[in-house]
């Protein structure tokens, strides 16, 4: 099957490009650039979680920031308490995943309609934001970690070599870790989507009734998809807090939730590359504006989003694919007509 072979080639090329970037970027950019790139990568992982559950699973979550923030807070609290960051890293996957599974169970087994899934996830992240915001004061702590209310948790210890809390990773090593996680998450999601489970997930997005009539239980598939999305957003939170060294409630905020949706929309739903590109491009823009302070970043994001919805509703990557295929076909078409003329 040529389609499968092309798919493998595409996958191998993506992984190669990722590894090249992981190894090559520290050689061509200074430390500041590398630290910025680490943030881009954290956002790309976050965008992948949204792209996976929304673009493939058809689950409209307005609150991926809930799992992102939960991952970040989990890392901060667990590392401050344990010293060693090895177990906390695993917890940043497990705890948001467990929370997503619990929330997803009530949403999907309660047979709540798609629009309400959006409303509920949005509400959940707003609740988490308010809860974390009101944890100011000495009374609010988990073990040794003061939650700090709206001020957040300062000086979160960075990652260390497994088992040795004194051997903290430097920013360049954190870059390797972050880029490695992105590649791993991408590869894992590609693998999931190629599996039978992944194909059923997409089929349910296309027609839930037909999937049921064929004997698939959409509730279970959606729950699994949502849980995987929660886990991916959680590890993105871990990367984020390792970039910033500090965590505060706005990770749960509406602006953060909206950004994730914009990442996925700009890049293109139904692709994995799209959300990555969307996240990097948007985060780059936000950073650029942030340093100049001439324009409000949210205002510009709004304008960009509207422009895309009106002009390129399918997103960058799908639009580029259609364009590329059109050019290839035209090239082929010209050759065919030339051959026909020669014969005539």
């Amino acid at each position: 099957m040529t389609g499968a072979r092309a798919e493998w080639a595409g996958f191998a090329a993506m992984i190669a490009a990722g590894v090249l970037l992981l190894v090559g970027l520290p050689m061509v950019t200074d430390l500041f650039g590398l630290v910025q790139a680490t943030l881009f990568v954290a956002m790309a992982v976050l965008a992948l979680s949204q792209g996976f559950i929304w673009g493939y699973g058809g689950i409209m979550s307005f609150g991926q920031s809930a799992f992102f923030g939960l991952g970040a807070y989990t890392y901060a609290v667990a590392t401050i308490n344990l010293g060693d960051s090895t177990l906390p890293v695993l917890l940043t996957i497990a705890i948001p995943a467990a929370f997503a599974a619990l929330l997803g169970y009530f949403m999907f087994y309660g047979r709540i309609s798609d629009a309400y899934v959006g409303v509920i996830t949005l509400t959940v992240t707003v609740i988490l934001f308010n809860v974390m915001n009101s944890t100011a004061g000495d009374a609010y702590h988990i073990g040794a970690a003061q939650l700090g209310g709206f001020n957040g948790i300062p000086s979160v210890p960075p990652l260390n070599w497994p088992g040795d809390p004194s051997a903290a990773l430097d920013p360049q090593q954190i870059w390797y870790f972050a880029a490695g996680v992105l590649i791993l998450v991408y590869a894992l999601l590609r693998g999931i989507l190629a599996s039978r489970y992944g194909r059923v997930v997409v089929a349910i997005r296309e027609n839930e009734t037909r999937a049921m009539l064929l004997g698939y239980d959409p509730r279970l598939y959606k729950l699994l998809t949502f849980t995987i999305g929660g886990a991916v957003a959680g590890i993105a939170g871990c990367l984020y807090v390792n970039w910033s060294g500090f965590i505060s409630p706005p990770v749960f905020g509406l602006a953060q939730s909206a950004q994730i949706i914009i990442f996925a929309l700009l890049g293109g739903l139904g692709t994995l590359l799209g959300p990555i590109i969307g996240a990097v491009a948007v985060q780059y823009l936000i950073n650029a504006i942030g340093t100049q302070q001439t324009l409000n970043a949210n205002l510009l994001l709004g304008v960009i989003l509207m422009g895309f919805v009106l002009l390129v509703p399918q997103g960058v990557v799908p639009a580029a694919r259609v364009l590329l295929r059109g050019l290839l076909d035209r090239g082929r078409g010209v050759r065919v007509t030339e051959a026909a003329e020669r014969r005539a």
Binding site: R196, R199, V202, R210, M212, L213, L214, D217
Partner: protein
């Protein structure tokens, strides 16, 4: 020892508010039987199918599949027991290719390899090979119906329900569909809902006539089509 029928419905009733769409219907279907359901619009045929497949919970009555009570069971559970349905409005995966549609149907059980074999066999049977790579959403209505029948065959059910399989098809496609149904019937039981009388004549043995949610008559196709009551409620309108 009595033979357990493939499907029995006893006193099956569906009420929507004050409207009784299906009213105390009794129906028994044997193994490898082909049954046609006819009746005017709103007679309750599609509602009956929806209850059989768990898409609607009956207000009263009982459905048994090979003796097992499946009344009000979840749709996916009934499908797993071996009931496949082509719905009236095609339910297909529009954004996926024909091959992917059929593959998903075939892949619920067994290995990927086995699923691929089942899917290829179903596509061969329906002659879907030449359009295997096309997106189902871009196909003509008749072709989409064929894809849906293909998915139903690929899931390898014991009982196949077809709701208006010939609707919107050209005469040639109708002839092909009737031949296919007769062929499927060699190994599988089917219930076919159809309006097209020519089509019914091509395939039917026993016909059940629905009218206003009740069974009006159930008999051999020739006697049913000659029945004056059936003509009055149904054919009479066409003749006029």
């Amino acid at each position: 020892m009595t033979v357990v029928p493939l499907l029995t419905a006893r006193g099956l009733t569906m009420r929507f508010g004050g409207v009784t769409a299906v009213d105390a219907v009794d129906l028994t279907l044997g193994e490898v039987e082909l049954r046609c359901l006819i009746g005017p619009n709103g007679a309750g045929k599609s509602t009956f199918f929806k209850m059989l497949t768990g898409q609607l919970q009956p207000s009263a009555g009982e459905i048994r599949f090979r003796g097992q009570d499946i009344t009000g069971a979840k749709t996916h559970r009934i499908a797993r027991l071996g009931v496949g349905i082509k719905t009236q409005v095609p339910n297909v995966f529009n954004g996926l290719s024909v091959r992917e549609n059929v593959f998903i149907a075939a892949s619920r059980m067994g290995s990927m390899r086995r699923a691929r074999q089942l899917a290829e066999a179903a596509m061969d049977r329906l002659g879907l090979g030449p359009i295997a790579h096309r997106l189902v959403g871009q196909l003509a209505h008749g072709q989409r119906q064929w894809v849906e029948i293909g998915t139903v065959l690929a899931q390898d059910p014991e009982l196949i329900l077809l709701d208006e399989p010939a609707a919107g098809m050209t005469h040639e496609e109708v002839v092909r569909t009737s031949a296919l149904i007769r062929e499927i019937n060699r190994t599988h039981a089917l219930i076919v809902v159809e309006h097209d009388m020519q089509f019914i004549r091509m395939i039917a043995k026993t016909v059940t006539v629905f009218n206003q949610g009740r069974i009006l008559v159930e008999d051999h196709v020739d006697r049913v089509l000659a029945d004056q009551r059936v003509r009055d409620v149904y054919l009479g309108k066409q003749a006029a």
